[in-house]
Each structure stands twice: as C-alpha cells, then as structure tokens.
C-alpha cells in the first residue's frame, strides 16, 4: 500500500508545481483541484472516509468553483488557444 501512497504524493507534488508553473489560469485551476482530489484519496487510504468526502466536496468542488467564478469576474476566463 505504501507504493500507492507514494504515487499519490508524487501526483500531488507534481500538480502543485503545475499550479505555479502553468501560464494558463484555467489549467492552473484544474491542477489545483487535482491536488485536493489526490489528497482525498490519501485520506481514504488513512481510513478517514468522512474527511476524504469533505476534502473532495469542498477542496476539489466548491473552492474550484469559487476560483472559476473569480476568474470570470476578473476577466481571466480564457484558455491559451483563445489568446493565441
């Protein structure tokens, strides 16, 4: 089971790096929600399904929606293809 946790941790670190490095805001937002989603899988491995559900609903769901709304309000809602 340790190797699975290791994979998840690597995925989390990689997507957290991607949030910092991606120039496109929408892609960065998607990477941000992947961090939360992987964290919720980690919670399931730690036998904390309640916490995992909360993390998935709030971390991956609600806060991504909130950020998406903020992107729209700030006029940053466009993918790299539109800008090019």
């Amino acid at each position: 089971m340790a190797w699975f946790a290791l994979i998840i941790v690597i995925v989390m670190l990689a997507s957290a790096l991607a949030v910092l490095l991606l120039k496109d805001f929408l892609s960065a937002l998607a990477a941000f929600s992947v961090v939360s989603l992987a964290l919720s899988v980690l919670f399931v491995l730690l036998r904390a399904p309640d916490v995992a559900m909360t993390e998935a609903a709030i971390g991956a769901g609600l806060s991504s929606l909130l950020f998406a709304l903020a992107l729209r309000k700030l006029g940053l809602w466009r993918s790299a293809k539109d800008a090019a």
């Binding site: 909360t54 609903a57 609600l62 709304l69």
Partner: protein
C-alpha cells in the same frame, strides 16, 4: 497605540493558552474517549456511522454552533455584497464542454447530494458534505450560462426553515425533560435506513441549510459586477 494593542493581544492570547493548559488534561480520560464511544455508540445512538453519532448526538450543540458560524459568515458576506445587479453581458460564455457537462451532471449531483445526506447515519458523509454537493449542483449551471439567476428569496426561506427545524427538534427533546438535542424516535435496527431516531432528520436539516447557504452565497457573488 498600535504597540499597546499588540501587547494587549499577546497578553490575552497568553492568558487563553495558560487557561487551556491549566484546565485541560491531555492525558487520562480524553485519550480513552474514542474507544468508549466505539463500544457504546451503536447501542446508545443506533447510528452505524460512528462519526455521525458524535457529530449529531454526543456533540450536537457543537454542530449547532458550527452552523451558526457558517450562517454568520454567509450573512456578513451577503451584507457586503448587497448591491444586486444582473450579471453583465460581457461575462464570457462557458463554452460547449461546460454547458453540456453541467446539463449532464446536474441530476447526477443532486441525486448524489441527497443520497449522501439521507445515508449520513449509515455511511461516511452527511449533511455538510451532501449540502456542499447540492450547492455545487445548483451553481455549475450558473457558471455555464451567465445571466441566469437563482431565486434568492426561496433560498433564504429554505435556509431559515432548515435552521429553525434543527433547533425545534433539539427543543422537542426537552419536553420530556431530556437534554437539548437528545435523539428522539427510538433507535431502530442498526444499519437500516430508518434508524438512529431523529439523526437523519437533523442531518437533512443540516444538509438543506448548508446547501442553501453556500448556493446563495455563490449566486450572490456571481450576481456582482465585475471589478475593473
């Protein structure tokens, strides 16, 4: 003046921490509490999910305070965002993927949210998680189609009724002389849908309140004008 305030704050914090350190025993009773609840909760509360029996039965008052914190935060945000205007036409369209996805996922998210709320006493999850999922379900269509609005009056009404129902159920227990929020209606059979007394009803109230509150807050935010 600022230094004085900072010193006052630090002294207050030190007093608080010292008080907690004095009053709380970090060893002893509280360490064994988990095992005691594990062995006693199924017989006392009748909820198959032990987390729910702690959240709603043993520590129901904490949940009520938690709900009121959320309510205060949402009310404060609503007051700050009071100026209501329809979403401007300059809001970009959500695009085909988001529109089709929101149409496809709306019924699915609603069913999952209701399922998680109603099975809060049997499986992991409950009112808070299901409520957040319901709020997301009603908000994604707004994100996909700018210009649509949720009816704020119905949301406020639903939120108020759900909050009142939670407190009323708590008060009903006091008629028989039991403590506030004591589970009612008998325990039922462990693991069946109609079990754990009034806990599923309480969780439904929690779910509706959390969902209505967050959906109302997000709708409020989306109805705002863009900041230039």
């Amino acid at each position: 003046m600022r230094r004085f305030t900072a010193a006052l704050f630090l002294i207050g914090l030190a007093v608080l921490i010292a008080g907690i350190y004095q009053q709380m025993s970090f060893y002893g009773a509280s360490v064994n509490l988990g095992q005691a609840i594990n062995s006693m909760a199924p017989n006392q509360v009748g909820s198959a999910n032990l987390v729910t029996s702690v959240v709603l039965a043993y520590r129901g008052l904490d949940t009520l305070v938690e709900l009121s914190i959320l309510f205060t935060a949402a009310t404060a945000a609503g007051m700050l965002l009071h100026r209501r205007k329809p979403a401007t036409k300059t809001d970009p369209d959500g695009g085909f993927v988001l529109r089709a996805g929101s149409d496809l996922f709306f019924p699915l998210l609603v069913v999952v949210g209701i399922y998680i709320i109603l099975h809060g006493h049997l499986t992991p999850g409950g009112g808070f998680q299901g409520g957040v999922i319901l709020a997301c379900a009603f908000f994604v269509p707004l994100l996909a189609r700018p210009g649509q609005q949720l009816d704020q009056r119905w949301i406020s009404l639903l939120e108020g009724l759900a909050g009142a129902a939670f407190i009323l159920i708590g008060l009903l227990a006091m008629i028989d002389g039991a403590a506030f929020l004591t589970p009612l209606l008998g325990k039922g059979e462990l693991g069946s849908l109609f079990s754990a007394g009034s806990l599923p009803v309480l969780y439904t109230a929690v779910g509706l309140k959390v969902g209505a509150e967050l959906a109302g807050l997000l709708a409020h935010l989306s109805a705002q004008d863009a900041l230039d």
